[in-house]
Structures are given as C-alpha cells and as structure tokens.
Symmetry: C2
Subunit: 572 residues, 2 copies
C-alpha cells in the first residue's frame, strides 16, 4: 500500500494535487509539507499547483515519462522483480571503475544498451560501472550535469525500470554500479525547485548558477532533499555508490558539513541493510578532510578523484602546458602523486595564482581514484579529443600502465580501452534558444579561460556533435584498437592477479626517476615497471622476474633492460 | 635602519611613492610587490600612486595622523620605550576580561583616558582589557567595526604611541591587553584596498559588504595582509591576544582555513619570543572545529564567545523572546550551557529556521567566554539599553553571579560593574552623507529583522547619541551603582580566591533546576550557588559552608535556605 504523496512547499498557502481529470486539495502536514488526501495507484500522472499557479512537476518526482516539462508519474519501487539477492557488494579497494555515458555508450543510447555491453566489460576486467548522471535533463542529448528532477531517471534512457534492469543485470554478472550525482547546482531548464522553497541562495555563487542553500533558513529540508536523493539511488535502485560532482562548489558553513551528514546517512543505510556503499567525491580542493574519518574532523568519504595525478600524467605524456597543465610537466610531479596522492599539498599553483591544498599525510592511496582520462579531461578540451588522438600508441600504453599499476583506484573512460576514434565533445539539446545561446557563450568563455581555442569547439547543440561522440563498437576488433584493448585487458588482469598492485599503502610504493633523462621506474611488491618518456634510449639493470608486458621496443639484452624512447617494460 | 617601503599592487604597472614635495618611482620586486628606492626617516608622510592615478594611503599604513583620507606616515616600531619586560603574559584560564570602547570609556575618549581607568580596573579585579577595534575609521565616532587602515591605530584615540603607552601601562600594572580585530569586511569609507589588488570577492556575500578573498586567485597575499596584521598587533604593540569579529562571515573553502593558518602563525610567534598569546573568536557557527586542536581537524583557537550562554541567561532574566531570544527562555537552556557550552548542538532553532551547531563533546569549558552583556548585546538593541535598565537590581546580581561562577572565561562590558546608567547605542560619524544614509537604512532594517522597534533607535550620526554612551564615572560611588560595584568586586575576588571556580572542566559542574518552580543551583567544588527566578519563595536544605554573598532577601532559617523570588545565595 503506497503512502499518500507529500510535497514540501513552505511558501505556499495552498497546494493542490492535479491529476488528469481531477484536482485534489492537499492538507498542510506541518513544517511546510503538504499531503494528498489518499494514496494514488502506481503509474498515475500528477502535478502540483501552488497557490493556484500553473501545475508543476513534483520536486521528488520518481518518473517524468515526458521529460522535465511533463507530468510526474507515481512509481512503486517495491514492484521491481530484483534478482540480485546474492550480490556481495562492491569492494572499493579491489575495484577497477569504468565511467560511461548512457547516451553515447551504445547504439541505442539507453540503459538497455549498456546491458548489451556487459560481456565486453567482463572481458575487459573492470569491476564497476560508473554512470554519468542519468536524471532528467532538457532535450535528448546532455552529459547530465545540467540535470533537473534529481529523483527521476531520464525517460529517453529507459526511465526507472530501465535503470533498475541495468543495475540488476550488472549485479547478476558480478559488476557493481556507481552513479554520478550533481548536488552543487541544477540545470537551467525544468528546474522548478525555487517555486517550491528556498532551495537556492545568493550568499554563495557557483560557476553554473545559484548555489544550493545548505546553511540558510529552511536549509534542513534542502539538505534532506539531496541526502534522500542519494539514499534513494542506493536503496531503491540498488546502486553501490555515488560519485558527487564538483563538491568544491558545495559551500556549507554549518558545523556539520553537508558531505559529512550525507556520508553518515549512507553509513546508517549500510548498517540497516548490511550492504557496503561508497561515496566518492570529485573535488578541486586537495583537502584531506573530505576522506578523513569523522572522528578526526573529516567527512568520511570513501575516495576522491585525483586530478593532480591525471594532470601530472597528461602533461608528461602530451607535453601540453595550457590552462591547468601549466602547473605540471615534470616527472617529479608524477612521483609526488605516486607517493602521496596530491601534487599540490600547499605549494603555490601558477594556474590558480595561490597556494593550493594541504598535506595528505596519513591518507591511504586507496582513497584516491586515478585515471588517464575521464569525461571532463576529454570533453572539456575544445574538440573533445581523447588522449589517443594526441599522442602515439606507445605513450598511451605507458599512460594506461601507470594508471593500472598505481596504488589508486583506477577509473577508465568508456572507449579508452580500445583507443576509441570517437571524441567526446560537449553536447547539449537545450529546448530553449536563449538558454542554448547562453550555454554556448559560457562554454566558449570557459574554453578560452582554460587556454583552449574556442574556434575548435563544435556547436554543442548540433546533433552531429552528439553523434560523433557515440562509440563505434565495430572498431574493437580492428587494429590498432584491438592491440590497445589487449594491452588494457592484460594490465587489468594483472592487477586482479597480483595483490601488491591493489595495496593501498603509499609507503609500499617505490618510485624513482631521472628528470633530465626522462625515465621512471615503479616497484610495487613483485611488480617492477620501467618506462622512458625521454628522447634517448635508457638502459638499466634488468630486474628479477619475467617481462610480462612491454611496448615501444623494450627488451632485455645480456642482463640489461633496454628502453628506447616511449618504451615500457613490466616485470612480475 | 628602516627597510624601504613596499606595497603589493599586483594590477599596477607602475607605482610611485608620493612624498610632500617629491615623487619617487618604486621598482617591481616580484609577486606584484613594489619597493621604494630607499628607506624613509620615521615620521615621513607618504602616499602611493598606482599608474598615475590619485595618491592613496598605504594599505599597511602604520599611522594615519589625519585619518583614513590623509597621508600615511612612517613609524619606527623599535623606537618605543617599552617598560613591560617583566610582563609574564596572559593566562586565559584565570582571566576575567573587561571589554571597553576607547571612545566612550573615558571623558577624553583616548588611549590615555583608558590609562586613567586602570586603578578602577585593578580594584574591580579584572585581569585583561579587551579593546573594541581601534584601527582607523571615518569620522570621530564609531564602534570600530566599520574600520579601515587595519594597521593604523585611530589618530583621534592617540595613534600608535598612544596605544603602545596604554598596553605598556596595562602590563606595568599587571593587566593583559586583547584587541578586537575585524577580518570579515572593511568599512565603507576610506577603504582603498580594492584599488591595490583583489582583496575582495563576489563569490561570497557578507551582511556588511564584499567578502574578503581568502581562497581565490592572488589570495595568498590577501591572507598574509590579515595575518600579518594580527602578528603586528601581537609583536609590535605587545598585545596579548586578538578577538576576531564575526568569523562566521569569513568564508574560506581552502584546505587550510584562514583561521587555522592565523592561529598557527601566532603559535610560531609565541615560540619565537616565548610569550603566550590568545586568539578568541566571535562565532555564530556553534562549531567545535574552531577551538579543537589542529591535529584533530580543528583551527586551534583558544576560545570562542558563547552567545548561547548569554542568550539563555538574558532570556531567563528579562523574559524577552524577541529575535534570537525566541530560542531561549528555559532553565534547561541555561543548564545545558553550563554543562556543555552550546545550547544548540544540532537542535532545531526556530529563529534560524534550521538545525544549528553540533555536539561540543570533549571541549573544555575554558574555551568559551561567558558574559551577561557585551557591546553587541547592549548596542544591538534599538536604544542600546543595558540589562540593568531592563530588570531589577537583584536580577542583575543573579546574572552577574552566574557569569562569574560559571566555568567559562568571564567577560564584562565596561560600566556593567556598576550598572551604568548610560546606554551603548549604535553610533557613527560617516563623513559621507550617502554612506550615512545607507548605514542608517541598513541599521533600521537589521533592528526590524531582529524584532526591535526601529522607531526607538536614536540617530547613529547624531553626536548626542555618542555622547549618551560615554560612561559617567561620577555614578560609581553613588547608590545604587556603588552597591552593584561591590557585588561585582566580591564575585571577581571570589573567583580569584577559589581555584574550583576557574576549573575549566564541564564534568566538574553540577547544575540542578526546577523549570516550573524557577530555581537553579550550581555547585563548583566548595562553592554552592542557589537562585530563584520563579515567582514563589523556594526553600531548600541549607548547604554546608558560609553564605558569602546573598541578594534578594536570601537567608538561612533553621537549617533551610529561604529564597524569595529574585534571591540568590552563594556559599563557599
């Protein structure tokens, strides 16, 4: 038996429940909440009318079958026939995460399309899928960070049942599912939250619009709105974790930070149902507080993305120094990332024009996610080009090897594993020409400030821009893609086979390098990796063990390991 | 030998040093700094010209002999003949702090005038003077929170030498000196900082104007500007501590918060010169992080003002429920403050319309300052009336006794000790009619939002408003003031005599009360206090010890302590 609909509308004097052919008066239920007179059958379309104004979708709508502007539809979460009762849960320390965008991963661009890729993911060896945001957004094409209707999986992706079927299928095949959620702002179209209550504040600004009101008057219910959202995904959709977008834009001066409260509530859910969950942050703060335990003043999050590691690696591999890459480019930076996660631990950043970060001393490496690319690092380039289109195949292989032998939790971005030829440019389908224009303008300004040439950026609104981003699965078995894929598979399977590669202790990482010569070696237990990013051959004493992977012409010659430029050898 | 003048002006291409009859070109010294060609003699007037615009005072001007709009003047801090070499420093745990406003404390309204009050302070028994902000402000009359020229003691108060002479005199008589500093915004007139560099940001808002840029581009030098300011007061003016105004309006999302960095730099100074300092925060956050040690994620501040304790006490004594007092009024609130400092430890606040604060478990009571009144609690009432004009003398005595036997660091507001008849209304002397008008408008709106009747507020710009605030020392020896003064002296001397009253451990505080009957008892070691805030007589078993203080007709009758309404008895 479903509960009656409830909605928080603290400014409204009257709230009506608008059905297809009926309007019901909702009764005030205290604290700004209004409650419908009785439950509705699952699958009923409805809207709310505040003080006789135009009917609006439910802020907590579980389903928007016609998109953000259409009616909300009731949903009975308990009705889904889950089959994942034996799913043991995600073990983050052992994870290899695969980030994907539902709309471009498969030919259909749906949740069901992702199910079709599970065989590939299993062969690749990843253990968790991380979905870019799937909640409703305006139009048919969007990365997902301009979303609204935070509780409603996008109707064109397959809606609530499609997402549940995907998670169930992943679990059934032994894969975990993590969802990217955006709690720092809402998209520009279909966001009716401010009609309902003080969800936003002008006390703080975000680069993308009004900041969320997490510490002003009536903020308890705003915090609950976002926290309940995370709990819904983890409970009703069986997701194994959430990845929080850009937490540096979540400003909260409360004594208990929103992120700490969120993690504590997730912990309570874990205790309640006995299943592990992870909360991972994308953070531009280099602040260890995020992942420290609450008992020592931390927020207790499980991990954070390490852009420092990415930037150090990317700048070395590509030689790029534009935008934030100007702070990187030395082997020393990469070594520092291997040794402590952050490159910026309080040092001056020329890009930021200030000191940045603080010492992460005491943090394990397993609370950082490492990647050679992700949707941002690919997509926030003017043309959305992947690293495989910027550098030679051997350098890509070196990058992949360093990510997959690093002490961090590796994250791959869909298609990376075969050096996909498809770019991942920024695309939108805003259903309002003014918003589309403003978004394009903002995009170009952002590119310019990041050091990119805005002229190289395709039109985000052009359907062709989206179409180009769609993965071409037919590449998979063709050279050179098939060769790249073999490399990734080998590395991932090595990581699973050798526990030392999943050892999350920084003090077990041995890294050596020669800045001028350009070589770097990494030892992790029985594994030894040597690579040459310089422009001259490098020779060193051959390590013990078997050379299990090599590229760029690396070979052992009478007890010496010979590394031509762009060569790598991995011994185990 | 003085160093050449330096100024940070990262946006300027050219900076000139403008002297009375000479203009010298300053040379770029890196990082946006410019340096004069050579040192100037102490006492030389100067200004800086950025890119040939109008000459401006030095942001770090040590002396503005003609106020914020006039020239800056060089100063040799080493030239002052200090005589406080044997000053042992402030021991906060034993302190009784006396907050005063230089302009209205004495007939002259100067630093020298404060020196004239030292005998009184010593007889009273306080151990530290806390000066409301003394840096330059526009006009002759200001509380000090609209200040500019953060490095320059107000010329009309007596300038740098006047302040040094005051601190030296205080130390010579065994009194510590704490200075109130405002790092959350600057005043509206004479603030040229934004001409020099990005001192401010629009990423955050404060109620009083632009927020300080503590985490954006070029913020390192902005942070240094404020931190160096605190260090200057503590080093060059021999101050024993700073009280940081409204730190809740200091927004900083850096991995190392400004306040943590500030306290760490003060600690370095303490190590350097072997003298203790204190950093006390006014905070509206109820966040234990402020005073926790840095090793467990805190900022390491020494203490914070406890508005919760004040509000609980004030609401009980006066029966007021307007504005923030609506959250208080029960003995339970006061007892909670006695037991843990915060009343709001995560509970819902009707005034704030959200949950507020978090558990202070583990914090000692000695990191809270307690007070019956302070400049804000008096002055932010429409008419600036002291509590002694709101309630009867016995209730005032009860309030004073609870503050001075509490486990917190007691703070008195000047004149409180004799129930001064003078109010302390908000006053200004803005030298710009537009600013004056805007300030008055803002003031009235603030009063209205706080539940006060704006019509009761005198004109802040009217010199008579200021004049009314000036203490009338002639009251001191007249009843009923002399009687109040005796009460305060007795309580303070008791506090000094009995170590248990200075015991900063919450678990050594025993508090009992009957909400309905209105009585409350407090035991602290050998001291027992009982008071009756109800409207009926209360009798309890007489405690052991001698009744050393009593008011309101409290007496012991055949083994029973009889407490009429508004009576208090203190046994030791």
């Amino acid at each position: 038996m479903a509960d009656p609909l409830r909605v928080w509308a603290p400014r409204a004097r009257q709230v009506d429940l608008q059905l297809a052919d009926e309007r019901l008066s909702m009764r005030p239920a205290g604290g700004g909440w209004f409650e419908a007179p009785g439950p509705l059958a699952a699958g009923t379309d409805y809207r709310f009318r505040l003080d006789r104004a135009e009917p609006l979708p439910d802020p907590r709508s579980p389903w928007q079958p016609e998109g953000p502007q259409g009616p909300s539809r009731t949903l009975d979460h308990a009705a889904f026939p889950w089959s994942d009762g034996r799913w043991p849960g995600l073990r983050l320390a052992d994870a290899v995460i695969y980030e994907l965008h539902v709309g471009t991963f498969s030919p259909t661009g749906t949740f069901a399309g992702v199910v079709g890729g599970i065989d590939h993911l299993l062969q690749l060896g990843v253990t968790a899928v991380e979905l870019m945001p799937v909640n409703e957004f305006s139009g048919r094409r969007n990365w997902g960070y301009d979303g609204v209707d935070l509780y409603a999986p996008h109707h064109a992706y397959g809606g609530p049942d499609g997402l549940k079927a995907l998670v169930d299928a992943l679990h059934g095949r032994g894969l975990a599912a993590i969802l990217d959620v955006v709690y720092n702002h809402l998209g520009p179209i279909g966001n009716y939250l401010d009609r309902y209550g003080p969800y936003f504040t002008d006390r703080y600004r975000t680069p993308w619009g009004s900041a969320v009101n997490l510490d002003g008057p009536d903020s308890d219910e705003v915090r609950a709105f976002f926290i309940d959202n995370a709990l819904m995904w983890l409970r009703d959709y069986h997701l194994d974790g959430v990845r929080l977008d850009a937490v540096h834009a979540i400003v909260d001066t409360s004594a208990t930070h929103f992120l700490e409260e969120l993690r504590a509530r997730v912990a309570a859910l874990e205790r309640e149902d006995g299943r592990r969950r992870v909360v991972i942050a994308e953070s531009d703060l280099n602040d260890p507080r995020l992942v420290r335990e609450a008992s020592i003043g931390g927020f207790g999050l499980d991990a954070q993305w390490s852009d420092d590691f990415h930037h150090a690696l990317h700048a070395l591999l590509t030689g790029e120094r534009t935008g934030y890459y100007q702070d990187f480019g030395r082997l020393e930076d990469l070594a520092r990332a291997f040794r402590q996660g952050y490159v910026f631990d309080g040092r001056y950043s020329a890009f930021r024009r200030r000191r940045h970060g603080r010492s992460p001393a005491g943090l394990p490496a397993s609370c950082f996610c490492g990647y050679l690319q992700n949707h941002d690092q690919v997509g926030n380039r003017a043309d959305g080009s992947r690293i495989s289109s910027l550098i030679g195949a051997d350098r890509v292989k070196i990058g992949a090897a360093l990510v997959l032998t690093a002490p961090f939790i590796p994250v791959l971005f869909m298609g990376e594993e075969w050096g996909a030829s498809t770019p991942f440019p920024f695309f939108t389908d805003h259903q309002d020409p003014e918003v589309a224009k403003a978004a394009r303008r903002g995009r170009l300004a952002e590119l310019a400030s990041g050091g990119w040439d805005p002229a190289a950026a395709p039109d985000p609104q052009d359907p062709a821009t989206f179409a180009r981003a769609r993965l071409r699965w037919e590449e998979l078995d063709l050279p050179p893609h098939s060769e790249v894929l073999r490399w990734y598979r080998a590395l991932i399977h090595l990581r699973h086979r050798i526990p030392a590669l999943r050892d999350g202790r920084f003090d077990q990482v041995e890294v050596r390098y020669d800045e001028d010569a350009g070589w770097l070696t990494l030892r992790r237990g029985p594994v030894f990796l040597a690579c040459n990013l310089g422009d001259r051959e490098h020779r060193l004493q051959a390590p013990s063990g078997t050379m299990v992977l090599a590229c760029g012409g690396a070979e052992v010659e009478s007890g010496r390991l010979v590394l031509p430029p762009d060569a790598l050898a991995l011994f185990a």
